[in-house]
């Protein structure tokens, strides 16, 4: 009789243990999803702001078509695609925006425009938020990847098919594609 009870207790403990591990891994996974959603929110905000910027700038920088076109082109590929494609498009836009603001330095009228200043601050703020969101995303991925690879959680990870997640795109290769044409 006693033996049966001991077995029951052990079984219950094991089940609780598995539940605990599963839940802790799920929480980490959900955090990654939330983190990505936040990146998406900021990418969308940038997506929405860019037409404003192009319109404001067009009037003053009539000859700078090249720079504006780069941004518009990169923008269209921003909202669809895999995480990797989005990461790449996002980096392209960052570079294109840098060009626009660099070129705008030579147009004092544009620089003085309240609308332009507001857009510049908002876009700059959004770039920062994208960077922060990426940081939080990568932190979440790191915590999750680590959790499913340490012992003993790795055993259960295989059992429940938890896979390693990828970090948000590297910036290395994206500097070659944006040109400033005058």
């Amino acid at each position: 009789m006693v033996a049966t009870w001991i077995l029951v207790v052990i079984a219950v403990v094991v089940v609780l243990f598995i539940v605990y591990i599963y839940n802790s891994l799920i929480k980490l996974k959900v955090r990654i999803r939330n983190a990505w959603a936040q990146i998406d929110v900021q990418l969308k905000r940038r997506y929405d702001l860019i037409p404003n910027l192009v319109d404001t700038v067009k009037g003053y920088m009539a000859h700078e078509k090249g720079v504006l076109e780069e941004v518009t082109k990169a923008r269209t590929s921003l909202m669809s695609g895999t995480k990797e494609e989005k990461a790449k498009a996002s980096n392209q836009i960052t570079e294109a925006l840098k060009s626009i603001f660099a070129v705008a330095e030579s147009y004092p009228d544009l620089k003085a425009s309240e609308n332009f200043k507001m857009l510049q601050e908002e876009l700059s703020g959004t770039e920062s938020k994208i960077a922060y969101a990426r940081q939080f995303y990568n932190d979440s991925v790191m915590a999750y990847n680590e959790a499913i690879q340490v012992f003993p959680k790795n055993l259960f990870a295989k059992l429940f098919a938890f896979k390693i997640e990828e970090f948000f795109g590297a910036e290395a290769k994206e500097k070659e594609n944006v040109k400033v044409s005058f």
């Binding site: 955090r31 939330n34 983190a35 936040q38 900021q42 309240e114 200043k117 507001m118 601050e121 908002e122 700059s124 703020g125 959004t126 920062s128 938020k129 960077a131 922060y132 969101a133 940081q135 939080f136 979440s140 915590a143």
Partner: protein, 298 residues
């Protein structure tokens, strides 16, 4: 992760503070009961007043602190950079909702965070701070404040302030009512009665004030907020440089700060001349040089 353990520890401290509060109310109730000849009356009174006081302070405390400090809500486009930075850091910290941002008109360099939890939190900076710090330094300070918010330090500090506030209120009220002749039903000389009760009350008060402050103003948590903030920005030099500038501030006095709110600020908001040895022991903040040193080593 250290941060999540810290959050759990702070939630435990919060429950401990509430528990202490309940004990304290009970004891005060018994004292009043003794004075009026009925323990139930005393307890009832204490719990009703204590309960109402707690609810008002806990839920409206942040607002009260902002009003006391004459803080105004930050608005775009005037404070666009400040608001965007706070929102960005909140994203990096994984907060569901960014804290509200307020500004105090004061030339002193200082900042604080308050609220009862991350969803109901506030960050406040002085205009002096925004004027004197560059963007990296401001970010460092804001990241420090956001760490206090994220790890529930603000809740512990709020509850401690509730307890301290109540003890001050009560001791005031009791002493005054005894002095102005609310005589008890006992037959002693009024003065002796007053002295006995006052002594009793104060004897009960001190350990609670002490414990509350000890729990709230742990210097270890300031160091931790410095470290967590540096982790958020990935740039400890930002906060280190900011602290260096704050240290050099000729007039750290924030006009509307007082004993109750002092521990919330990033740097002691009182003049340096008041630094006696006793003040250092009970100082609400660790020495600035220490903090800068630790950040430089990261």
């Amino acid at each position: 992760m250290g941060m999540y353990e810290e959050i759990a520890a702070n939630k435990r401290r919060s429950y401990l503070l509430i528990f202490l509060f309940l004990i304290f109310i009970t004891l005060i109730g018994l004292v009043i009961g003794f004075f009026y000849g009925s323990p139930y009356f005393g307890l009832g009174l204490a719990f009703v007043i204590g309960g109402v006081y707690f609810l008002i302070t806990y839920y409206k405390g942040a607002g009260a602190i902002l009003t006391m400090s004459k803080a105004k809500e930050a608005k775009k486009p005037e404070h666009a950079y400040l608001i965007n930075t706070v929102e960005g850091l909140a994203i990096a910290a994984g907060l569901a909702k960014p804290p509200k941002v307020y500004v105090i008109e004061d030339s002193a360099l200082n900042a604080f965070a308050t609220g009862r939890d991350p969803e109901h939190s506030v960050v406040c900076v002085t205009t002096g701070l925004m004027a004197k710090l560059n963007r990296l330094e401001l970010e460092g300070v804001l990241a420090h404040e956001l760490s206090h918010i994220k790890n529930y330090d603000i809740r512990v500090m709020m509850l401690a302030a509730v307890m301290v506030g109540l003890t001050v209120l009560l001791s005031d009220f009791l002493l005054r009512s005894f002095l102005w002749g609310r005589g008890g039903r006992r037959e002693h000389n009024q003065l002796t009665g007053v002295l006995i009760v006052a002594g009793l009350v104060l004897a009960i008060l001190s350990p609670f004030i002490g414990e509350a402050m000890r729990l709230a103003i742990s210097r270890k948590r300031e160091y931790l907020a410095d470290a967590s903030g540096a982790l958020l920005t990935r740039y400890p030099k930002g906060l280190a440089d900011a602290l260096r500038k704050i240290k050099e501030d000729p007039d750290p006095l924030v006009d509307h700060a007082n004993r109750a709110t002092a521990h919330l600020f990033i740097s002691t908001p009182f003049r340096k001349s008041k630094r006696s040895f006793m003040k250092k022991i009970f100082s609400t903040h660790p020495p600035i040089d220490d903090r800068i040193g630790r950040l430089d080593k990261m």
